[in-house]
């Protein structure tokens, strides 16, 4: 059982809520399957909070987006469960290869393909990159993106825990314990308090580390935050 793997997270959750070793409270079909669901939900929530506050820390490596309609839309594909990927929070899009120029978000009434729209494919309903005014745009070296990918379900001790950065996994048991307490009609307050206290500490660490990241792409700003003066 490695630090913050699925088994460790479940054990930490059980320790927090002080349940016996032999326990059926969180078993519906297989042992502790409900608890793995709570751990999974906790991971997803923390991933979303990070995407909201400091998405850079959770970005995937640059991924090429593929168009199946001659450049009208570019999709993010599906995850290993077959579900369409909706990038969380701010994305970073670059045209014509992973070293291409950044493409900024725009509006549908912009008369250009130099900005992008994030909406859904009309036929599949999947999240896609689209160009204003139903324009098409193709790239010799492809359209590339960095984004926060939603985490997958943790269903058993063998499920991978994908939350990034690693230290944020410490928060998962607190969130799972809140769910456990709610289910058992216990007071979830103590576990929520522990989550809140640690969340802000970790967030402060990440905010400081990543302060101003990405601003170099914007006019009149510097990527070096200490020279910029304001945020």
């Amino acid at each position: 059982m490695a630090l913050f793997d699925a088994s460790d997270l479940v054990t930490r959750t059980l320790n927090l809520i002080n349940r016996p070793d032999a326990d059926e409270a969180f078993t519906r079909t297989t042992t502790n399957d409900v608890l793995y669901q709570y751990v999974s939900d906790g991971q997803r929530r923390i991933c979303e909070l990070l995407a909201w506050q400091v998405p850079e820390v959770s970005y995937e490596p640059p991924t090429q987006l593929i168009s199946s309609d001659n450049g009208l839309t570019y999709g993010f594909g599906t995850d290993s469960d077959g579900n369409p990927i909706l990038p969380l929070g701010q994305i970073e899009l670059r045209g014509d290869g992973p070293k291409g120029l950044p493409i900024l978000p725009g509006n549908d009434w912009d008369d250009t393909t130099l900005v992008y729209l994030l909406d859904t494919n009309a036929s599949t309903g999947y999240p896609v990159i689209r160009w204003p005014g139903q324009r098409t745009r193709t790239f010799a070296n492809g359209l590339w993106c960095r984004y926060v990918k939603p985490t997958l379900q943790i269903t058993s001790s063998s499920s991978p825990v994908t939350l990034k950065p690693f230290l944020c996994r410490e928060l998962i048991p607190y969130q799972a314990a809140v769910s456990c307490a709610t289910q058992l009609d216990m007071d979830p307050g103590p576990y929520q308090s522990q989550f809140d206290a640690r969340w802000y500490e970790i967030l402060a660490i990440l905010k400081t580390q990543k302060h101003g990241a990405g601003l170099a792409a914007f006019p009149n700003t510097s990527g070096v935050w200490w020279k910029r003066g304001v945020y």
């Binding site: 809520i17 016996p20 059926e24």
Partner: protein, 557 residues
């Protein structure tokens, strides 16, 4: 665990337990009663319930491997066994453990773990004695003209004979055919130093030999030792009899009579008869056990009873009614009971569902003072013989003989060392775990109020490591099995090593909690604990369940 928000938690306690009551009625349960106990019995001293000893085949001649198969092809039923202690002329005693199987007459050597066919077919032929190959054999120790007791052997089919402990040697040495005795039905008994029994040819007649001389008496004209059952109230045949220092008790199928008075030629007229019961009798004479002034038996309807003097008590049946209903009541003539002193229980070998031979033991204990039903012992397959013997040290040992020529000895629950056996070994010597089940009584029984049962806390007696399972049943559902492992930290006095064991304690109490889930709700909860692992012992003291009242619903099941 932290408490629930705004809820008053009830703690529902069960234990320590003194008996089993298998009634399927949630409102009659109480804290000192178990709903079911399988392969368990109340420890006579410590107040906990412990797993029964295991058993292994005799004749392994090395402590391992297959046992010795007795009998002969087509005749492998173990017909009977007894340990007979013979006093020698110089005052010393010799113990003989006798086993009859397939018409063969063996003695068993406890030290060597070997059998000897001490009287062979040639010996029986030499003395014109016939020993049936399949019928149950009944033993009675009786005085003789030699001044020393001999073993009276009756197979219910042929004329009984005596054995004096000698080896036949092809000439039948040690055997005496009781040519004046009629064939006897069922278990004979002793009264006024006379062998008594029911005539097989006329089961309204009870006959007896002379005092310290079973070779004469009976229906011989010079003696006319016979009591004719008048049959005025019940003309049915006699099924069993037993003699105590106070009286003879004779059992028909559904009535019982006692007779007191000196057993002499005038007995048939001077014996004082008293009705014991007009409704209760026995189906098997071997089900009668005399223990400390009380007679225990199973009646012709399968109900366990005990009888003190002329008063028959039905407490045991009321505590075991559901178990009784599952028995093969058409085969109660095979029932055999023994007084298993080392565990403080009386065991009734009974035919389980659809079984023609014994397959189940029903246990009765006096640990709490009065006799009470304490559950069943099972896992043996069928068996034809149940007996108490004495080992080389004179310690009582429970024996079980199967229908395939093997006799199994049970371990001693009180001693250490090689006599400890905690698994059931097959005839091939392969160990199988014993399934221990302890089901406390219904908890929280209520007419309409529902509870959410939160957790169970149980205290176990960890004589060894244990892998314990817990489950429960409610009116609404049944749980999954929750499993936990307990490390036994105690060790028996005399076996402990300084600095390595918890010295001086043979028992360590260990507490374990079991978390109940969403299905643990309803008007009552029936918890259950199980254990089934080779090499491990199991024991349990008490348990409790935390619960909160949640609702009163008009459609509560």
């Amino acid at each position: 665990m932290q408490p629930l928000k705004g809820r008053q938690t009830d703690v529902l306690i069960s234990g320590p337990w003194s008996m089993v009551n298998d009634a399927v009625d949630s409102t009659t349960a109480n804290t000192s009663t178990l709903y079911a106990a399988q392969n368990m019995y109340p420890d006579p001293q410590l107040g906990s319930w412990v797993g029964r000893p295991g058993s292994r085949p005799m004749g392994q001649t090395g402590g391992a491997g297959p046992g010795t198969q007795l009998g002969q092809s087509g005749h492998r039923r173990v017909q009977g066994s007894i340990t007979w202690t013979k006093r020698n002329t110089n005052g010393t005693v010799t113990r003989y453990t006798v086993v009859v199987c397939g018409g063969k007459f063996y003695t068993y050597d406890w030290s060597l773990d070997t059998y000897t066919e001490v009287e062979t077919a040639a010996d029986f032929t030499a003395k014109s004695i016939t020993l049936d190959k399949d019928s149950r054999v009944f033993f009675t120790v009786c005085g003789t003209q030699t001044g020393f007791a001999q073993l009276h052997v009756s197979d219910g089919v042929n004329v009984p004979f005596l054995w004096d402990g000698s080896t036949g040697g092809g000439t039948g040495a040690g055997l005496t055919k009781l040519t004046n005795s009629p064939v006897l039905y069922g278990q004979p008994w002793m009264y006024y130093a006379k062998v008594m029994g029911t005539m097989n040819a006329n089961r309204g007649r009870t006959v007896w030999g002379e005092e310290n001389d079973p070779t004469v008496g009976y229906l011989m004209p010079a003696y006319n030792n016979v009591w004719q059952d008048p049959g005025a109230q019940d003309a049915n045949p006699l099924y069993g009899g037993i003699g105590t220092n106070d009286a003879i008790y004779l059992y028909r199928n559904r009535s019982t009579v006692s007779i007191t008075g000196r057993l002499d030629t005038q007995f048939s007229t001077t014996g004082v008869r008293a009705d014991v019961s007009n409704t209760v009798g026995v189906a098997s004479s071997a089900s009668l056990v005399f223990h400390e002034g009380t007679i225990f038996f199973q009646d012709a309807d399968g109900r366990l009873r005990y009888q003190a003097g002329n008063t028959v008590n039905d407490t045991l049946w009321r505590e075991s009614r559901q178990t009784t209903n599952t028995l093969n009541l058409g085969q109660l003539q095979v029932v055999q009971a023994v007084d298993y002193v080392p565990a403080g229980v009386i065991l009734f070998g009974v035919p389980g569902p659809d079984q023609s031979d014994m397959s189940l033991l029903m246990a009765v204990s006096m640990t709490s003072g009065a006799p009470h039903f304490v559950g069943t012992w099972s896992g043996f397959g069928t068996f034809s013989c149940l007996a108490m013997a004495l080992d080389q040290d004179g310690v009582p040992v429970l024996l079980r003989g199967d229908t395939n020529g093997y006799v199994y000895r049970f371990g001693d629950p009180n001693r250490v060392g090689s006599t400890q056996i905690w698994d059931d070994y097959s005839s091939a010597g392969v160990a199988s775990p014993i399934t221990h089940v302890l089901t406390p009584s219904y908890l929280g029984g209520n007419t309409d109020t529902e509870r959410q049962f939160l957790r169970a806390d149980a205290v176990f007696r960890a004589d060894s490591n244990m892998t314990v399972g817990a489950s429960y049943q409610t009116p609404r559902s049944t749980s999954n099995l929750l499993s936990t492992t307990i490390m036994g930290t105690g060790t028996l006095y005399g076996e402990a090593l300084y600095g390595e064991f918890t010295y001086g304690g043979g028992t360590t109490e260990v507490h374990r909690a079991f978390g109940y889930g969403r299905n643990a709700n309803g008007r009552w909860l029936l918890p259950s604990f199980t254990h089934q692992s080779v090499g491990e012992q199991f024991g349990m003291l008490a348990m409790s369940v935390d619960a909160v009242q949640v609702s009163r619903q008009p459609r509560t099941p």
